[in-house]
Amino acid sequence: MSIDFNFMVGGEAGQGVQSVGFLLAKVFSRGGYNVFADQDYESRIRGGHNFFRVRVKNGRVSAIAEPVNILIALNRESIDLHRAELADKGVIIFDGEQVKDVPADGHLFSVPLEKLAQEHAGSKLMANTVALGAAVGLVDYDADSISGILNEHFGTGDVGDKNVRAARAGYEYARAEFKGEFAITIKPASNIKRILLTGNDAIGLAAIAAGCKFMAAYPMTPATSIMEYMAAKSTEFDLVMVHAEDEISAVNMAIGAAYAGVRAMTATSGSGFCLMVEGLGLAGITETPIVLVDGQRPGPAVGLPTRVEQGDLQFVLHAHHGDFPRAVLAPADVEDAFWTTVKAFNIADKYQLPVIILTDHHLATSYATVDPFDISRVTIDRGLLYSPQETPPSEYKRHKITKSGISPRAFPGQSEALVVTDCDEHDEDGHMTEDGHVRTAQVQKRLRKLFGLKHELATPLLYGPKRAETTLVGWGSTYGALCEVVDILHRKGGSVNLLHLNELWPFNAEAVTDALGRASNTYVIEGNATAQLASLIRAETGKEVSGKILRYDGRPFTPAYIIQEMRKEGCELGCHI
């Protein structure tokens, strides 16, 4: 049976929305389903309104979708805010003993969450676990699977046991008491082992696999979890994560470590990236390989700190005064986030320049199921860095002019070769210069690296038929939603495909020109107010797209939203929908 099922958990910050949501996702991921789950929360620690959506599918899934089949409403507000999003036969699980006077409708299914929690687990606080059990019970899924997961999550001791009992109580209550027409059941699907993780998890994991030995950062949503992950693994993986005093220090520490010869990174969001801009150019002129993660959120300034936007594209492309080469990679999904990160470290080393991984709050914090990464495919290419076993020539020149623009790289202390570099313009030796010819030669040398680098990058992703009437164009984390739009329109008979840019810079103008040239209608869909990708495409290819679908309210794109907006804008969908 084809399953495409949406759970939503709603409540205040502090009520455990996130943990119930995550556990739900885990339950079905373990059962062989594909899961995609996103988090919507406010910039506060308690109160307010949060929700967590979990989509369960037995086909590929990498986006959120409406409508909601089961809403776990941990408070009254969640019912009021989300009842309109319910599917025809959707159900709202809530605690009718606590939340009174809810205008009745066919969707409501009251479960005495607190009472059951108190009875079975000895604490009202486990009401949310009861609700989890009830939701799983409603779809008649395997009850034992929850227990195992709860024991992993909360331990096999007392807390774990209580949670197991609470969930079981909810499960059984639902099985026994639900009288409505809810017909959908979900059965464990397969034994396929998939991992469930966020984009940030994938980046952290990849950084460790790629041999990142040093990270310095300053907390900022949504990048903080990368630094926390690296810190958590630092003892086991012999790496160092420094919580710096500010972002300026963070990026400069990473540059120092990279200069000294290790793979180094930092991670931040827009405001923090602002403070790293000067360091970015320092890496540029000293030709120091570093990896910077920018997790986008709505700006300018602090904007909406816990929400999503794709508003940093033009900024990261042009951040810093003067010209120097950089790479900008915008992973399309969780899987891509892993491989992009591995590639980022390789490119940084090979071309001796800063590489920016441009992710966003949605990708950073959404969970998706993917096949376990094949770590044996992770390769390490440190480029022209002399290995500890090699001895660089004693008349070593750090910034030697070469045809490729890349100079052999020694690290300080490796041998008697002195590694000299300067953020002033410098000669091949690394000493500062005032000479115009030397300057010109060094600028050109640095920029020449872009030729090689460009060939290193993959061509843009193409999803759907090679040729189509309508080509959607996107970048970064919207990939999943856009693919699904293509699928939907295709099923309706539309001639639509997707050109998706993830390895963004240096820009592959030929491939984009070519792809856009083949379609009659081209629509850029991106999460910012000024159509930054459309502007980049025009700058690089001269081509103007037929239309733009832009979202900048801090919420992620969903397939239905995209289609609805395309209709509003009168976009050529090639089919009736």
């Binding site: 994991l205 202390g413 953020c423």
Partner: protein, 283 residues
């Protein structure tokens, strides 16, 4: 054997008579006496007249942004603790643009030596007041006189620097001694160095300093008492103490890092396969 001749860099662009020459000489002397070879040291400097120093001697050199010698010095030290890492700033670089890094590097007690060429003026940009300019000092950007100067020595003591000294560019022998102690010290070592700028600072001249400086060690001073050190740190004007003002033993940031117990990070092999074990956590 290391010799002074190993420490001859490119031609300097400093003004004749500049106090920086004394500091350069003292540093070279210290390095030679410590038998450190150029490739064993890393000089990280900022931007300013002081920041040019590394080019005028020899070593691994990372000439960094204005105000930012300390963070890359820290990063490099963690990546490779075998390097003797010496950061070099001017007073504007260290205490103006770089003030925040200064504070936090001290409280974390990173194992680096920090030489601050304190000429009480922004020299490279032609004479504006610096954070250490004497109160009332009139420059083109402080027409009503500079504000109260910051007190780098006192700041260092209260921020947790484990070695705090003041040197004088006019006494290279004494200064070389301080630099040696600073490099030998395990932890953050600040050496604030009184450095006459013959071109822009006509108030705090060689003469002015010479008439005021006196050596702590010749006065039976003990550098191990924090409150006494703080009291000493207030002394400025008629008499200016030079020498080690405060020293204590504290664990360094680096020695608390388990990752470094297996040797310098830069020599550790990259083994992607080890990450395999992490996958299980996401199953």
């Amino acid at each position: 054997m290391v010799a002074i001749s190993d420490y001859v860099g490119i031609k300097s662009a400093w003004c004749p008579g500049c106090g920086n020459f004394g500091i350069l000489k003292a540093l070279n002397k210290a390095l030679v006496e410590l038998e450190l070879e150029p490739h064993q040291i890393l000089l990280v400097s900022g931007i300013g007249q002081a920041g040019k120093l590394p080019h005028y001697t020899r070593g691994n050199i990372f000439n960094s942004l204005h105000g930012r010698p300390v963070p890359p010095a820290i990063g490099a030290k963690i990546a490779n603790p075998e390097l003797a890492v010496i950061a070099i700033s001017g007073d504007g670089d260290a205490y103006g643009e770089g003030g925040n890094h200064f504070l936090h590097a001290m409280r974390r007690n990173h194992h680096i030596t920090y030489l601050v060429h304190d000429n009480q003026v922004y020299a490279l940009t032609k004479g504006q007041a610096s954070p250490t300019s004497d109160s009332g000092y009139v420059t083109k950007t402080t027409p009503y006189g500079a504000a109260m100067p910051i007190n780098p020595i006192a700041l260092a003591i209260v921020s947790g620097a484990s070695f705090v000294a003041r040197g004088f560019a006019g006494d290279t022998g004494h200064l070389a001694g301080l630099i040696k102690m600073g490099i030998n010290h395990k932890g953050f070592a600040l050496i604030d160095i009184l450095q006459p700028c013959v071109t822009f600072n006509h108030q705090n001249t060689y003469r002015w300093y010479q008439e005021r400086v006196y050596k702590l060690e010749e006065n039976g001073y003990h550098a191990d008492d924090k409150m006494a050190a703080l009291e000493k740190a207030q002394e400025w004007g008629e008499k200016i103490p030079i020498g080690v003002i405060y020293q204590t033993k504290l664990p360094t940031y680096e020695e608390q890092l388990p990752a470094l117990s297996k040797g310098a990070l830069v020599y550790q092999k990259i083994e992607p396969g080890r990450a395999e074990s992490l996958l299980a956590e996401f199953l």
